[in-house]
């Protein structure tokens, strides 16, 4: 519990109403499971004048479309998505990441749509008495001279080194999921998740390409059967309820010991869910041998820029990549 600036709360009947209400009030925020927003309200990091409750919108279905795509409604709870047979059998890495997220209580509240929008745990972002370009653009970055154990080593800039904290989005980046949204102007659109998150660059306040009033309605998981040969590995300080110190999401398409297709994404070490095409290039055409995995892991972290307190992260991340690849490879 912390400070709490007063706000109004509105209830809406359908997605169109949710979108209209948000567009009408630029200083509004949607509330679904509340597991990020309520925290930030208490910290006064978020100070909306209007909170629009969308948690009851009928967007919580999980189904297979005729073309084999699995569609997860944005309001599906993380716990429900994790245990759904379509997710658990066809995309083990997604289910593993969901179950490695937060605690059971939080997973019962949090939605998959909200999880895509989870904010960083950077302590300087969460403390309104510190400088933070993400919270207060132009104010500076206290983290640069601060305590950086949790911070990113990939995708950083001199404006921001905040780590993207979520697990599931890392796996969605790996499997090339598509995010479906609804906007006031032109209705629905589909965004490849690789395009959803923007590099922080000079404007760390902007994390995604979504516009204000653009509602995530669903996530589409591609139909490729080889994605079942996948794995998510997360290193953290304790066995559960801990943010990733480093995490790896991988999928392998293997034929006779030769890797035909490969996906590698990293979590806990980058400013956004981090796809490593460098690692994938090394894997494709390679063999499912430790040497190949090690080379891929090294490639994935080659650009890493560690700081004083997170110097361990590249090595830990390399280890998660190797372990995830070895585990996926061993999965027939």
């Amino acid at each position: 519990m912390g400070p709490l600036k007063p706000f109004r709360i509105a209830h809406v009947a359908d997605p169109a109403e949710a979108v209209a209400a948000a567009v009408l009030t630029p200083g509004s925020r949607w509330l679904a499971g509340g597991t990020t927003l309520v925290d930030l309200l208490k910290l006064e990091v978020e100070t909306p004048e209007l909170v629009i409750y969308i948690g009851d919108l009928p967007l919580d279905g999980i189904e297979e479309l005729p073309n084999g795509v699995v569609r997860i409604g944005a309001m599906a709870r993380m716990s429900d998505a994790a245990r759904h047979p379509l997710v658990a059998t066809r995309y083990p890495l997604v289910a593993q990441a969901l179950l490695a997220s937060a605690s059971p209580q939080l997973r019962n509240m949090a939605t998959v749509g909200g999880n895509l929008m989870q904010r960083t745990r950077c302590p300087y972002f969460r403390d309104t008495t510190r400088a933070c370009n993400k919270r207060d653009p132009g104010s500076g970055c206290s983290a640069l001279d601060g305590y950086t154990r949790s911070h990113a080593v990939l995708g950083t800039s001199e404006q921001c080194i905040a780590t993207h904290p979520a697990d599931m989005p890392v796996t969605l980046v790996a499997i090339e999921a598509t995010v479906r949204t609804q906007r006031l102007a032109d209705g629905e659109r589909s965004i490849p998740i690789g395009d959803l998150y923007v590099a922080y660059g000079d404007d760390p306040a902007r994390e995604t390409v979504l516009e204000h009033g653009e509602l995530i309605t669903a996530i589409d998981l591609p139909s490729d059967p080889w994605l079942a040969r996948s794995c998510f590995v997360k290193a953290r300080d304790r066995a559960s309820f801990g943010f990733a110190l480093a995490a790896a999401a991988v999928a392998l398409d293997v034929d006779a010991g030769i890797i035909r297709q490969a996906r590698v994404a990293l979590g806990g070490v980058a400013t956004k869910p981090w796809r490593s095409r460098e690692a994938e290039e090394i894997l494709i055409g390679g063999t499912i041998e430790p040497e190949c995995f090690a080379a891929a892991a090294n490639a994935a972290l080659r650009q890493a820029l560690p700081r004083r307190d997170n110097a361990f992260k590249p090595e830990l991340a390399r280890r998660t990549v190797r372990l995830a690849l070895a585990t996926a490879a061993a999965r027939a």
């Binding site: 600036k5 305590y147 590995v233 300080d237 559960s240 040497e291 090690a294 090294n298 361990f312 190797r322």
Partner: protein
């Protein structure tokens, strides 16, 4: 009659707790209540140039903002009062540590107070950079230390330099460090203060109602009889609620100034800076031994961080190196280094948990150096008498603890070679350590009343931390009165009740039970006398010493059929109740010719997946010698809780402070404590031999010993698994990856 003591009885308040009807301090809401919130310093050191309350005062519901510039400063603490922070809050413009309370905001609503507190603008000047000295620079911290003021902790036995310089001696030396840590019990600290006609009532989350009563009476210049402090139950304390902290004083002050009741509940974030911490420690230990492993020298230098306002010495060597092993040459010193963190204070086994980490790690290093089993090394150095005062132990069964632990754990299957035990890809390590905690006893009193409805009411100003004290004392009272437990009501947590000590030092059970024994005996005697003196009683005319109380009845000895139910006797005698009172000193029932200490042995198995890596504690066996066990269920929970807390200390807990001196992980997502899957099988057993030289029931305390030795047992197991000696806590993934961790699997490209 069946004895209640010794049975694994469920908590008497268990149903209330699981159904949510148990009321805690923060639930108290007298009419007209105002809510308060503190404003905390965001600099580690400097002074306040000005406080701008204008924005806060315009907010809805705001009643007042109190700070050093608009209140009459409180007088200083009188001597002899135990407090957490010796500086009174709002006494001047100076800032001494991060999180120091600089203002208190009072509002009609809780959220309004929190919001207004965030709107108070504090301007600082002369901000000093904090010292960056900490356990990450252990040698620098050792070098910078000055001696602690409490020189009674110094031990100089024999000739340490000669013994360590002995050419034939086997020497091991190591520097061990632990970071600052926080108590953070589930229940946040809370105060509800109400002034009424010069009388002060305070509902307080406190482990010491009468200490709080005395402290508040002293600072507000009241006769203690005008101050009542109430706390029927606590949601965990671990030491952070033992002493009065500034927010309590501020709440009482706000209630006096606003002339309405005021409630203040610390936020979780504020809990990290407002009620003390276990300070960071650095300890250098040098052991000298004969080739047989027999100790010839122990040198233990301990240094801890401390706040500028309050010198707190973490007594790392006091109950560890001083007494644990037979050794002729012992040198122990304690020093402090001022830092900018919150004041250090007692945190579960203060000194013993940190001190045993260092000493019991060093003993493991010695076992490796000498090449003998760690258990055997400890047996060879067993202290048959207290080596410090040469007194015999009142009751020491440490050898049995080792033996039983070895058996239950299966220790004899241990291959001593590091890295030799595997399970799949996991490295398996087995480690052990000794647990030790002194047996404290303090003055206590109790009143007991038999009532005409056949029940008994027992009062004592002791405390229910959530650990089962009210259950155990109900058991004891039932036995000493001769009543069934169901007819005994035990009430505690009110400063107006008969005196009891602070719920600290694992002393409550030993101290209060002695008062119950004596008060119970007095009431039994009164009931027997009444039974013989009441004409309508079937026992009328008998000699009182021929009677006894059993199952709530006064009966003739050897003829239980002849008697009268106690309530009926009172009704016959025309009395509503019959009471007795006893006050006992710390020495009551204690034989001065002995030394009193509890011991135990921990054995643990850890696994390290070298591919990631992370340490997991997979098995823990503890055997404790704490005298007589009054309730196996609650006692076991205490030891299990201590071990779990020790797992956190060993593997994950640390306050992260950045270069500005501020804590950056002041929440329970980023400050890691163990969660359920971090804790596998914990097997706790007790020797359960009474210590009748200590008190009548023969029971020593059990609240703290579980955490002592735990971190060392884990670190020793990690060494056994990996061959690497980790001397710096916590042994977290980044700690494990620090050199010289060696890749087991494939090589780095």
């Amino acid at each position: 009659m069946k004895q209640a003591v010794g049975l694994p009885i469920d908590r008497v308040d268990g149903r209330q707790k699981v159904t949510g009807s148990a009321r805690y301090t923060a639930d108290v809401a007298p009419p007209g209540l105002l809510h308060a919130s503190v404003v905390q310093a965001t600099i580690p050191s400097g002074r306040i140039r000005g406080i701008d309350c204008s924005r806060a005062l315009e907010l809805p519901g705001i009643v007042a903002v109190l700070h050093h510039d608009n209140i009459t400063p409180l007088d200083s603490w009188p001597s002899g009062i135990f407090i957490g922070d010796e500086r009174l809050p709002l006494s001047d413009e100076h800032i001494h540590y991060v999180g120091q309370h600089v203002a208190v905001v009072v509002a009609e609503g809780f959220e309004q107070a929190l919001h207004a507190a965030a709107a108070v603008m504090v301007h600082y000047a002369d901000t000093h950079k904090p010292s960056v000295m900490g356990p990450e620079l252990p040698e620098a911290m050792l070098a910078a230390a000055r001696p602690g003021e409490n020189q009674s902790l110094r031990v100089a036995r024999g000739d340490i330099d000669t013994a360590l310089g002995e050419p034939a001696a086997i020497r091991v030396e190591g520097v061990y460090s632990s970071p600052a840590a926080t108590h953070n019990p589930l229940e946040a600290s809370a105060t509800v203060a109400e002034w009424n006609d010069g009388h002060l009532t305070v509902h307080e989350t406190t482990q010491w109602v009468q200490g709080t009563q005395r402290a508040l009476a002293a600072v507000f210049r009241l006769d203690p009889t005008r101050v009542r402090v109430v706390c029927p139950r606590i949601g965990g304390g671990f030491g952070c609620k033992a002493l009065v902290w500034p927010h309590t004083v501020l709440t009482v002050l706000a209630a006096r100034i606003c002339e309405r009741p005021v409630k203040l509940v610390l936020t979780r974030e504020q809990m990290f800076t407002s009620t003390g911490c276990r300070p960071a420690t650095v300890q250098r230990i040098a052991l000298g031994a004969q080739p047989t492993g027999k100790l010839t020298a122990i040198r233990h230098e301990a240094v801890n961080s401390t706040a500028a306002t309050t010198e707190f010495v973490e007594q790392c060597g006091r109950s560890t190196s001083r007494i644990l092993y037979a050794c002729p040459n012992v040198s122990i010193s304690h020093g402090v280094v001022v830092d900018s963190g919150p004041p250090g204070t007692w945190m579960r086994a203060p000194g013993e948990c940190t001190g045993t980490f260092a000493l019991e790690s060093a003993m493991d290093e010695l076992a490796v150096a000498v090449g003998i089993d760690p258990v055997e090394l400890r047996l060879r150095n067993h202290a048959d008498v207290n080596p410090d005062d040469a007194l015999p132990w009142s009751s020491k069964h440490l050898r049995e603890c080792y033996a039983l632990g070895v058996e239950r754990f299966g220790w004899s299957a241990r291959d001593p070679r590091p890295g030799s035990m595997r399970s799949g890809t996991d490295l398996v390590g087995w480690g052990m350590a000794t647990a030790v905690y002194p047996a404290w006893k303090m003055p206590a009193a109790a009143s007991v009343h038999a009532r005409s409805d056949g029940s008994a009411l027992v009062r004592c100003a002791t405390h229910e931390l959530g650990t089962g004290a009210s259950t155990v004392f109900t058991q004891v009272a039932a036995d000493v009165l001769g009543f069934d437990m169901q007819r005994v009501e035990f009430v505690l947590g009110d400063s107006s009740f008969p005196p009891a000590p602070v719920a600290g030092g694992s002393s409550s059970t030993a101290s209060v039970s002695q008062a119950l024994v004596e008060a119970g005996a007095a009431l039994r005697s009164k009931l027997c006398t009444l039974a013989t003196a009441t004409s309508a009683s079937p026992l009328s005319g008998l000699r009182p010493e021929l009677l006894e109380i059993a199952a709530g009845r006064v009966v003739a000895r050897g003829d239980a059929g002849r008697g009268i139910e106690a309530g009926e006797l009172l009704r016959l005698a025309g009395q509503d109740e019959l009471g007795a009172y006893a006050q006992v000193s710390a020495d009551a029932g204690r034989d001065p010719g002995y030394s009193f200490t509890s011991f135990g042995a921990h054995f643990c198995e850890i696994r390290v997946d070298p591919r990631l890596p992370r340490v997991r504690v997979t098995r823990f066996v503890s055997v404790m010698d704490v005298g007589r066990v009054l309730n196996h269920k609650t006692a076991r929970s205490q030891v299990v809780g201590g071990i779990v807390m020790g797992v956190g200390m060993a593997l994950m807990e640390r306050l992260h402070t950045d270069a500005s001196g501020r804590i950056v992980n002041a929440n329970l997502a980023d400050y890691a404590v163990p969660v359920s899957p971090d804790v596998k099988a914990i097997d706790v057993d007790f020797i359960d031999v009474p210590d009748p030289r200590f008190n009548t029931l023969g029971a020593r305390g059990v609240g703290e010993i579980g955490i002592t030795g735990t971190a060392a047992a884990i670190a020793n197991a990690v060494h056994h698994a990996t061959g690497i000696r980790y001397r710096r806590l916590p042994i977290s993934p980044d700690g494990l990856l620090a050199p010289p961790f060696v890749e087991q699997e494939d090589s780095e490209a």
